[in-house]
C-alpha cells in the first residue's frame, strides 16, 4: 500500500489540466499587463491632444488679442498659410457673447473645432472667448458631433 503511494508521489511530468491552468493564469497576467500599457498609451494620446488644443487656443486668443479684439479679425486669412484652418461649424459660444467665427483646425492629424466670441463688459473693456472641442475618445473625428472634450480660454482687452 505504502509502495503504491510512493509510486504516485514520484510520478514525473505534469498533466494537461495543470498545463492548461498555467496557460490560463499566464494569459490573465499578460492581458493585465497589456491593458495597463493600453491605458497608459491612451492617456498619453489624450495628453497630446490636450496640449495641442491649449496651443491652438492660445494662438487664436493671443492673435486676436494682439488685434485689440477687432470685430473683423479673420484667423483663416491670418494663419491659413501656415496651418490647416478653415471656416466651419463650431461649438456654441457662451450666452451673451457675439460670435466672431467658427473654424476647423487640423494639427498633427487631430481635428479641432473652435469658436471665437466676444462681449463688451464696459465702454473700454472687452472679453474675448475661445472654445475648442475635439474627439478624445475615438480620435477618428469626422464631424463636430464626435467631440467629447473641450478647452476654453478667456482674455480681456482695453480699447
Amino acid at each position: 500500500m505504502s509502495q503504491k503511494a510512493n509510486k504516485n508521489w514520484y510520478r514525473s511530468g505534469i498533466s494537461l489540466v495543470e498545463t492548461m491552468n498555467a496557460i490560463v493564469i499566464l494569459s490573465i497576467a499578460v492581458i493585465g499587463a497589456t491593458g495597463y500599457r493600453y491605458c497608459s498609451t491612451l492617456d498619453a494620446r489624450k495628453a497630446d491632444a490636450y496640449i495641442a488644443s491649449a496651443r491652438i487656443g492660445y494662438l487664436l486668443s493671443e492673435s486676436w488679442r494682439g488685434m485689440q479684439g477687432y470685430e473683423a479679425y479673420d484667423p483663416v486669412a491670418h494663419l491659413g498659410a501656415g496651418m490647416a484652418i478653415t471656416a466651419s461649424e463650431g461649438p456654441d459660444a457662451p450666452g451673451g457673447y457675439t460670435v466672431l467665427g467658427s473654424y476647423e483646425i487640423v494639427l498633427n492629424d487631430i481635428t479641432f473645432y473652435a469658436t471665437l466670441s466676444w462681449k463688451d463688459l464696459s465702454s473700454n473693456l472687452r472679453t474675448l472667448n475661445t472654445i475648442l472641442v475635439w474627439a478624445q475618445r475615438t480620435h477618428e473625428q469626422t464631424d463636430i458631433d464626435d467631440s467629447d472634450k473641450s478647452f476654453e480660454l478667456t482674455t480681456y482687452v482695453l480699447n
Binding site: 496557460i23 497630446d48 496651443r55 494662438l59 488685434m67 491670418h78 501656415g82 494639427l107 498633427n108
Partner: protein, 169 residues
C-alpha cells in the same frame, strides 16, 4: 469488471487533446496579435512623446515666446515671405533706448536666432534652435507674433504653433 476498467482509466483521448490544443492555439494567436498591436502602439507613442523632433519643437516654441515677450511693440517686422521675424528690445533696465535686436529666421532646414547690438548694428551671437525644419512661417497680428513650425526627421512629422504678446513699449 469491464465497468471498473473504464472508471480507473486516466488521461485524455486524442480528440480531447486536439480540441484542447486548438483552443489553446486560438487563444495564443489572439493574445499574440493583441500584444503585437500593443507593442506597436507603444513604440509609436513613445517616439511621439520623447523623440528629438518633439523636444526641438518644444524648445523652439519656448525660445520664441521668451524672446517675443520682452520685445518692444514698436518696430518689429516680419520678412516678406514670413520666413523670419525681427524684434527689438532693451538690453537691461539701465538702457535709455532700444539697443538690441533678435532675428528668427529659417535657413537650409535650420531655425536660427541671431542676437545683436543696434547703433551700430553688430551681430553678437547666432544660435541654431532646431533642425529638420520643413515649414516655418512667422506672422504678426497687431501686438502679437506667431510662429507656425513643422519639423520632419524622416520618420516623424511634428507641427507646433506658438504665439506671444509684445508687452513692452
Amino acid at each position: 469488471m469491464a465497468r471498473k476498467r473504464i472508471t480507473t482509466q486516466y488521461g485524455f483521448t486524442l480528440i480531447e487533446l486536439i480540441i484542447a490544443l486548438t483552443a489553446s492555439m486560438i487563444v495564443m494567436l489572439g493574445l499574440g496579435l493583441v500584444l503585437a498591436n500593443s507593442q506597436d502602439s507603444w513604440n509609436h507613442l513613445y517616439t511621439r512623446a520623447f523623440s528629438d523632433t518633439v523636444g526641438e519643437s518644444n524648445v523652439a516654441g519656448i525660445k520664441f515666446k521668451a524672446i517675443i515677450r520682452k520685445a518692444s511693440q514698436n518696430g518689429f517686422f516680419v520678412d516678406n515671405e514670413g520666413k523670419g521675424i525681427e524684434i527689438y528690445y532693451y538690453n537691461s533696465e539701465d538702457s535709455d533706448a532700444i539697443d538690441r535686436y533678435a532675428h528668427f529666421y529659417e535657413s537650409d532646414g535650420d531655425l536660427n536666432l541671431e542676437l545683436g547690438k543696434l547703433n551700430p548694428r553688430e551681430t553678437l551671437e547666432v544660435q541654431t534652435i532646431c533642425s529638420n525644419v520643413t515649414e516655418c512661417l512667422f506672422t504678426a497680428a497687431g501686438r502679437s507674433a506667431q510662429m507656425l513650425l513643422t519639423l520632419d526627421n524622416g520618420s516623424q512629422t511634428i507641427s507646433t504653433v506658438s504665439c506671444a504678446f509684445l508687452h513692452n513699449q
